[in-house]
């Protein structure tokens, strides 16, 4: 198999699902002729036409609200939000509507749909093209929150999300689109939602991460291995529902936990991972739980030194691991 980009996995999943199931439609800003500002939807309008690949009017609440209506009437919409930073106008439609339609109707209605959004920084996107907003949606039962970190998972998880009977918020780290490369299985291979991935086994500590940070954690583990430190890396892949069993099992093996995310510290996804460990594996721990995260400032600055200081990277992860082992 050829080595390809993560964004190829995203595009291929959509292409295959639209070819397989005529109910699948795509809507978002610039997803048609332009093929998306990141080119994730390139070529789809040529193969499936403008009735199924819809250049939406510029308004996020409209995109998600219309997608909900489509899902209520037999379609399977993929709604693209151009940047995760712009998802907030659609928050009401996602949280009050999509997440609650099955529950509030006592199972009479449901909305099979995917909301895709590129997130994360490290691309000089400044405050409003760099945010990590996943924690807001992790707090909402009724939603699923999925973040792939490899090209194969990008394809397999997105295919699962499209086939899911419930609304899935699917975040794709924009820095990883063309940075993270790997083989993508041909054809109809899905990856289950709700299962973490054991990236590599280790004995000395567990590193929990997702998205670009899972990719960086693997690089950090390579560096640590050269120093004789055996780091286990767990790619969470799904934040809601969180694979608590995989987290607890890993801590039981290594007795130390380092949680990494780019989103700011307070009430980030790491808080839930840490609480899971504290509730379920406290007596397995040989050291306090450590979180390496973005700082608690409103968003990522545009200028290079401050952006670099905001982002966790392989070296910072390795250093945090060393400190944790020294305790």
């Amino acid at each position: 198999m050829a080595v390809r980009n993560l964004i190829d996995g995203i595009r291929e999943a959509m292409h295959e699902e639209m070819a397989r199931d005529e109910r699948v439609v795509l809507l978002g800003e610039d997803v048609g002729k332009r093929g998306g500002v990141f080119r994730a939807t390139e070529g789809l309008i040529d193969d499936f036409g403008e009735q199924r690949v819809i250049d939406a009017p510029l308004g996020e609440s409209g995109i998600v609200g219309v997608a909900i209506g489509m899902a209520l009437n037999g379609l399977v919409p993929i709604a693209e939000i151009q940047f995760a930073d712009f998802i907030h106008p659609a928050f009401n439609q996602i949280v009050s509507e999509a997440a609650k339609i099955r529950y509030r109707s006592d199972n009479d209605f449901h909305v099979p749909m995917v909301i895709r959004a590129p997130f994360g920084g490290g691309v000089h996107g400044g405050l409003y093209h760099s945010q990590s907003v996943e924690a807001f949606f992790m707090h909402v039962p009724g939603l699923k929150v999925v973040i792939p970190s490899t090209p194969a998972d990008a394809k397999g998880l997105l295919k699962s999300a499209i086939r899911d009977e419930d609304p899935v918020v699917f975040f794709e780290h924009k820095r990883s689109y063309r940075l993270v490369r790997g083989e993508i299985p041909e054809g109809d291979v899905t990856v289950p939602i709700g299962k973490a991935r054991l990236v590599r086994e280790g004995k000395d500590l567990s590193i929990f991460a997702y998205g670009l940070m899972a990719f960086y954690a693997e690089q950090a583990a390579d560096a640590l291995a050269k120093e004789g430190i055996s780091a286990e890396v767990i790619d969470l892949r799904t934040l809601l529902p969180l694979d608590r069993e995989a987290i607890l099992q890993s801590v039981a093996r290594t007795h130390r936990a380092l949680i990494v995310h780019e989103a700011n510290h307070t009430m980030g996804a790491g808080a839930e991972v840490a609480a899971t460990i504290a509730e379920g594996a406290l007596y397995e721990l040989d050291a306090p739980i450590r979180r390496l995260t973005g700082p608690d400032i409103p968003a990522m600055p545009f200028n290079t030194p401050q952006e670099e200081h905001f982002m966790p990277n392989p070296e910072k992860i390795a250093q945090a691991a060393r400190e944790l082992l020294a305790l």
């Binding site: 439609v25 009735q51 199924r52 939406a56 009017p57 308004g59 609440s61 409209g62 998600v64 609200g65 219309v66 997608a67 909900i68 209506g69 489509m70 899902a71 209520l72 009437n73 037999g74 379609l75 919409p77 106008p89 009401n92 439609q93 009050s96 509507e97 609650k100 339609i101 099955r102 529950y103 509030r104 109707s105 006592d106 199972n107 009479d108 209605f109 449901h110 039962p141 009724g142 699923k144 899911d164 009977e165 419930d166």
Partner: protein, 332 residues
């Protein structure tokens, strides 16, 4: 684009039996509404959202559509529901949050309608979200070449929401078969229309979207029914959406928790009671010879008896088991 303000003529093709049925729907909605209010004041029902004063428009627009169409009513639309077959029993089961409640199994507050069998799409409390759903529903129907219409109703207060703009824009760009039904009762809780919009009629806004806008006397059942028929016909022809505005008056406070004495005069409310849509329809059925006074009285008794029975049934009906609250978060 059409922009009409006069009420369509009452040239309805409805026969006497159908007119009688429509009057019965209005009466049933009114009677349920009155008794819900009484139960609330007696401490037996936590919350009521009244429809009083809006029955002609509600029964009118629901009757102007087909069972295969999609209905996205707002919280005041008891008259719409009754027209679609919602019974007094169903209304009181919902009021009391009982297990048999067809809208949500007792999960939602009263007035948050949804009824899969009758194409009534589940609704929520944040206002105006449903108009975007109507657009998506219409898009899906349109894509499959079906001739169904999606109709979403809202109060005139909701026309201030961004979702209203986005939905009107989408629907008109794609000429989708959507009816935007504004039940203009003059108030958004306490704010009068003059503080909600700078235009005289909400339907004027249709012009900015290149769609038809029609303002109708919302106390006149026949005018509302005819305007809906015409708008639905336009939609089915592929001529796009219509903004229908029915003007009327909310005769009661916003809800059982509101006190309208704090923001409007009793004289104003009393003046509007002379234009009560039930009274208007009653006069019509008697004057047109659809019913005799005796028959009209018998109909009222029949409706009262139905409501009495429904309350007795709902009061003794079981609540959902506590453990059921954990079901249907996701597909099982």
């Amino acid at each position: 684009m059409a922009r009409t303000k006069e009420s369509p003529k009452a040239t309805s093709a409805l026969g006497p039996a159908e007119v009688r049925k429509m009057y019965r729907n209005m009466l049933l909605a009114r009677t349920i509404d009155e008794r819900m209010w009484t139960l609330n004041r007696a401490g037996k029902a936590p919350f009521v959202i009244p429809c009083r004063g809006q029955e002609a428009a509600q029964v009118g627009w629901a009757a102007g559509l087909r069972p295969t169409d999609y209905f996205l009513p707002y919280y005041r639309d008891l008259g719409v529901m009754v027209t679609l077959g919602y019974t007094a029993r169903q209304a009181f089961l919902s009021l009391l949050g009982k297990s048999e409640d067809v809208t949500s199994g007792g999960r939602q507050m009263p007035g948050h309608y949804g009824w899969e069998e009758r194409h009534v799409i589940t609704g929520s409390s944040p206002v105006t979200t449903q108009v975007l759903h109507a657009v998506g529903i219409a898009y899906a129907s349109h894509l499959r070449g079906e001739d169904t219409v999606a109709a979403a109703s809202l109060g005139e207060g909701s026309t201030s929401q961004g979702d209203f703009h986005e939905a009107m824009n989408w629907a008109s760009i794609y000429k989708l078969p959507v009816l935007f039904v504004v039940e203009n009762n003059g108030y958004a809780i306490s704010s009068p229309q003059s503080k909600e919009m700078a235009v005289q009629d909400a339907a004027e806004r249709a012009l900015g979207y290149g769609m038809a806008g029609v303002t109708v006397d919302g106390t006149d059942f026949f005018a509302c029914y005819e305007a809906t028929l015409q708008a639905a016909e336009r939609a089915r022809r592929g001529d796009g959406p219509t903004l229908l505005e029915f003007k009327m008056y909310r005769l009661l406070p916003h809800s059982s928790d509101d006190d309208d004495r704090t923001y409007r005069s009793r004289e104003e409310v009393e003046a509007w009671k002379d234009r009560d849509p039930i009274l208007r329809m009653k006069n019509h059925v008697l004057e047109a010879g659809v019913m005799t006074a005796e028959e009209e009285g018998a109909l009222r008794s029949e409706v009262q008896a139905e409501v009495d029975e429904a309350i007795a049934y709902a009061e003794t009906a079981p609540y959902p088991p506590v453990e059921d609250m954990f079901t249907h978060v996701y597909a099982d």
